[in-house]
Every structure is written in C-alpha cells, then in structure tokens.
C-alpha cells in the first residue's frame, strides 16, 4: 500500500474509534416484507466469538449481498440462517433470528424443516456422485415424492429454472460429476430449488468459476429473484453492485489485548447507497478498494 492509502486507512481506524461501533439502520431500511429479522446476533465456536452485533432485516424477493474481507463473519452469518453451523461441534448462536415470525433457534424447531425452506448453494460446486436426474430428484425423494411422472416434472422445471435444461435434457442419466464448473453449479442450484424453498442462500457461488459462467450465474440470480429471496456472500464488489438490491458490509475487529479477531456488521443499506455514499469510513475504505 502507498503512503497516502495507509493514511486513509489509519484515519478510518481513528474515526472508527470515535464513532459508535455499530451502525444500526435508523429505521427499517426497506418497505417490503421482512423474511428474516435478526437482532443482536452473535456466533460462537466454543470460546471463540466469530461474529457479533448483527442486526438486519432481510426483505422478500430481493437479493441481499454480504461483503467484507475474509474473517469478517459473512459466511458464518449466512450459515446461521439455515442452521448449518449446527454441524460444527461447539457452535452457538446468541441473539434472535426470526424467519417469517418464527424463532429459527427456538425449542422444538427442526433444522431439517428449516433447511427445506432455506436452501444453500456452496462456493465449490458439489454435485453428488449420481446421475444428473438423481441429483435434482434427491431432495424431492427424501421428502417422500415417489411418483415417477411428478419427479420428471420437478426435475425438468428445476433444470429449466436453473437455465440448464437445454444443455442436459438428453443426458439426464449421465453422472453429475461429468459437468463443467459452471454447469455443475447450475445443477446445484437446480437441486436446491427442486425442493421449492422460500429462500436461497449462496456462499460465494461464482468465485470458483470462470467469468462467462459467472455471468450466467448472475443472470440466473436475477431471474430467480422474482420467486425466491436470495442472500449471497461475495468478495467480488462488482458482482454485488451488479446483482444485489441491498448490501451489508462486515468488518474484522481485532482485539489487540487478547489477539482475537471478531467479525461485526458495520453498515447495511441499499446497494446504491453503500457503494455511492457509504456512511461509515470503514465501509468507504473497503468499497473504494483501499482495504481488504
């Protein structure tokens, strides 16, 4: 980094010390339906606090992007939405997370029911070692669908919605592993929407793909928005500006005394506002490329 940029970041850190640590949205940021209501959420792995002080509403039929440098907790928060953190021994979620009015972490809540409604697409495409058809049919099958005709219908619809049908309609019996990166990721998206979720979470869905496949995935996201609510984690800021309606910026707080790094939500607003007129200096430093 050059001297002047170092100064900017140093100044941002100084300002941060003066400003209140967390920027709460002053009033509900949007006017649509709130799908997720998150208040004062923190995630712990054992005695390590991974992310803290997260408060944000996620709106229906929008694409919300989580951005920030690595270690800032964006993936951790994303995984809290569909209770994937449960798979990590010692993981704990504090605070409140409501999905359509129901407490995601309440007693009596089944993570399996949660994940049916809130699906996830991963960074590295992970098609199962099965045929393309069986990949997409896996979800409906475990939910009890046995009727062959209905399954055929679901598979076709899902593959169409994922913009993959035309490319694979004649080779549905071929292994899912035989697809290229971009196709495999679209297969994973088809697989996710085959169970008819309400929300689709995406953890850096295009970061392992080439630029052309990335473009295809981004177009797909914009098409899916009308039916689903999408939350994506991305480290590609241009992608956030291209696809998302709303953006949340996460930042890593380093505690010099205990040498721990904890993620924190710094700012949340419409994508236009975050990138053109960020209110926190740390957000500004990040989106202008000087930090992270």
């Amino acid at each position: 980094m050059e001297q002047s940029e170092q100064d900017v970041v140093a100044k941002a850190e100084q300002n941060a010390a003066k400003e209140p640590l967390i920027r709460q949205p002053a009033a509900p940021v949007g006017t649509g339906n709130v799908i997720f209501d998150v208040r004062d959420m923190a995630v712990w792995y054992g005695s390590f606090k991974a992310v803290t002080d997260v408060t944000l509403p996620i709106y229906e039929n929008e694409i919300t992007a989580f951005i920030g440098s690595s270690g800032s907790g964006k993936s951790t928060v994303l995984r809290a939405f569909n209770r994937m953190n449960d798979l990590v021994p010692g993981a704990r979620v504090d605070g409140e997370m409501y999905y359509r009015g129901a407490n995601l972490y309440g007693s009596g809540v089944s993570p399996i029911a949660v994940r049916r409604r809130i699906g996830m697409v991963f960074q590295k495409p992970n098609p199962f070692p099965k045929s393309i058809y069986d990949n997409v049919a896996y979800g409906p099958r475990i939910n009890g669908e046995r009727n062959k005709k209905k399954l055929d219908e679901i598979v076709e619809q899902s593959l169409r919605a994922a913009a993959l049908w035309d490319e694979v309609k004649n080779r549905l019996k071929m292994s899912g592993l035989s697809l290229s990166g971009g196709q495999a990721q679209r297969l994973c998206i088809a697989r996710t929407i085959a169970v008819e979720p309400d929300v689709v979470l995406m953890d850096e869905p295009a970061s392992a793909l080439d630029p052309i496949s990335t473009g295809a995935i981004e177009d797909l996201m914009k098409d899916l928005k009308s039916k689903y609510t999408i939350v994506i984690v991305t480290h590609n800021m241009q992608q956030a500006t291209r696809v998302s309606d709303r953006t949340a910026f996460f930042y890593v707080l380093t505690d010099a005394k205990s040498d721990t790094r904890t993620g924190v939500l710094v700012e949340y607003g419409s994508t236009k506002q975050i990138f053109e007129d960020p209110r926190d200096s740390r957000t500004q430093a990040y989106v202008t490329g000087r930090m992270g």
């Binding site: 994940r115 699906g119 475990i142």
Partner: protein, 327 residues
C-alpha cells in the same frame, strides 16, 4: 512416494572425499541387498506355486478332472474334493453375510455418528477381536459354543423342518454344534476387525462438502449417508468385503476344530461339514502317497482361489481410492 534423487547425483563430482569418484561399493551393495529383500516376496510366491504343485502332481495325474468330483473316500482311493470346495465357499459366504452389515454399521457409527473422543476406545474394542488367536477361537468354539449351539440348532431345525427356505437352510436330520454354520459364525468374528477398519478408511474420505450439500437440502443423517456417503464409498467397501472373504476362505485352525469334519455337500447349514484348509490341517498327519498329494493339491487350489480374490480386492480398493482422490 520417495524422492527421485539418485545416490549418484547426490554425490557431487568433486565431493568432500577426494577418492569418491564413482558410487562407493558399500552403497551399491546396500542397494542390491534391499532389492534382493524385495524380490524375496516374488521368489517365495513363485516357489510356493512350484513346490506345492509338484507335490500334488501325482494327485492331478491319477484323478485328472476327477479332482473336482464329489467322492472323497481315501480308503477306496477316491480323492475328489468337491465337498471341501463347497465347504470353503459356504463357510466364507456365511462369514461375509454376518460380518459385512455389522462391520459397515460400525464403520458408519465411527465416522458419522460418534464424537471424536469416543472413536478411539470403540476402535480399540473392535481391534481386540483381532488379538484373539485363531486357535483360541477354535478352543472356545468346540468346547463351549458347540455344545450349547447343539441345543439351539436342534430346536431351530425341528421348528423349521418343512417350511420352504428356512427348512432348506436350517432343517435336516444331521444337526451338530460343530457345523458349517458355527464355522461361518466364528469366521465372521475373526474377519470383522479387518473389514471394519478398511471400510472405515474408505468412508472417512467422503468429501465434507458433499455431505454439507445433502444436509443443506434438509436431509436427515441417514438420508445423507444413503445419498452421499454410500455412493462415494461403495467401491472401496466392496474391496474390503472381498478381502474379508479371502481371509475367511483361508482361516484354518478355528474352522478345523468346529466344522465337524464331515465331507458332505448339503444345504443344511447346521450339518457337520468340511472345508479345504480344515481338511488339510486335520488329515495331513495320517496321509501318504496320493492321499497326501491330494491334500497338497487342495493347498494349491486354496492358494489359487485366495490369490485371485485378493488380487481382485486390491484392484477394486486401489481403483476406488484413485477415483476418490481425483473426483
């Protein structure tokens, strides 16, 4: 694998020792010694084939294809060993049928269900099964288990006689605690540790991201195992099962004590029977001439069968490991 650097290139032309212009004698001798030790394996295997076949030659020439006949009667100079081959197959199959579900269950339990901390003690217990020597299994089998099993088998047999498949397998008149079934059961105990350990190695290589993909679709743990872990591991597990099968076929002493020493071919599993290694072990002492050659010949056949199964099994395991790494 090891470094490709050859000793020659490691010793520079003008090394510290001015006399070391070419590779020192001691170094070359050591390399040859290591090579000889390695070749010993191949030499032994070849010698086994040659020496035992040669000893069995009088049997081959006397009986011809009759070696596969069902007419074992040394007193009448008849040495067809089909009954022993049958017994080898039956006891090994029983062992595999019993041991494989148990072993896979334990492997899945260890990799998917129990927390890390409990895995090690459980593995210790399963490995303890392997510490019990074959002869001790046999001792316990014939002196303790067989008499007790005699009653149980008798009750079962009289109960199912006449019922279609059950009577076919478990009925009959010649019931004994020392039988095909007892031998197969004890073999199952003996092969469980190795099938479990190999299956566990395979199952543990399932990529975590595939498992997460299944969970993210709302699968229960069992659904995830069926949908992701199983397709990924089935090749390797098949290899492990084949290795268990090979091991069961060759186990001698425990079987020799509990199989009942009766060369028959029958579907009734509670009947006393015989198999190849047990036959060799029990009958060798009193044998001579063609009789002895026949036992040697059984050894040749047993060797051939187990080698074939082991080669196939190792091939299957290697291929699935390669695929798992590449995928």
């Amino acid at each position: 694998m090891s470094t490709v650097v050859k000793a020659d290139s490691a010793v520079p032309a003008e090394s510290a020792h001015p006399l070391a212009r070419r590779r020192p004698l001691g170094d070359r001798a050591f390399a040859l010694l290591a090579l000889a030790a390695g070749l010993l394996v191949l030499v032994i295997l070849i010698l086994i084939v040659i020496s035992t076949s040669q000893q069995a030659s009088s049997w081959f020439s006397t009986e011809g294809w009759g070696i596969f006949a069902y007419n074992w009667n040394p007193g009448a100079n008849q040495f067809g060993v089909l009954a022993f081959i049958y017994g080898t197959a039956v006891t090994a199959v029983i062992a595999v049928v019993i041991a494989v579900p148990v072993s896979i269950g334990i492997a899945l339990l260890l990799t998917e269900v129990v927390p890390r901390r409990w895995a090690r003690p459980i593995v210790y217990v399963v490995d303890l099964l392997a510490v019990v020597p074959s002869v001790v299994w046999g001792l316990w089998g014939i002196l303790v288990f067989a008499p007790w099993a005699n009653h149980i088998y008798g009750s079962i047999a009289s109960g199912v006689n006449g019922i279609w498949v059950l009577g076919f397998l478990f009925g009959g008149n010649n019931i004994s605690g020392a039988s095909f079934f007892t031998a197969g059961l004890i073999l199952a105990f003996m092969i469980t540790p190795i099938v479990t350990s190999l299956s566990r190695e395979v199952v543990a290589t399932t990529p975590s991201i595939d498992k997460q993909g299944a969970y993210a679709l709302g699968a229960t743990r069992w659904e995830m195992i069926r949908g992701v872990v199983w397709p990924h591991s089935q090749g390797g597990v098949v290899g492990a099962v084949l290795l268990g099968l090979g091991r069961a076929m060759g186990e001698t002493i425990a079987v020799a004590l509990v199989i009942g020493s009766n060369p028959v071919i029958t579907s009734h599993l509670f009947s006393p029977g015989y198999n190849m290694p047990a036959g060799i072990a029990n009958l060798f002492g009193e044998s001579s001439g063609v009789f002895r050659a026949a036992l040697m010949g059984m050894g040749v056949l047993l060797f051939a069968f187990t080698i074939i199964i082991n080669v196939i099994a190792r091939g299957v395991v290697a291929r699935s490991a390669r695929r798992a790494r590449g995928a």
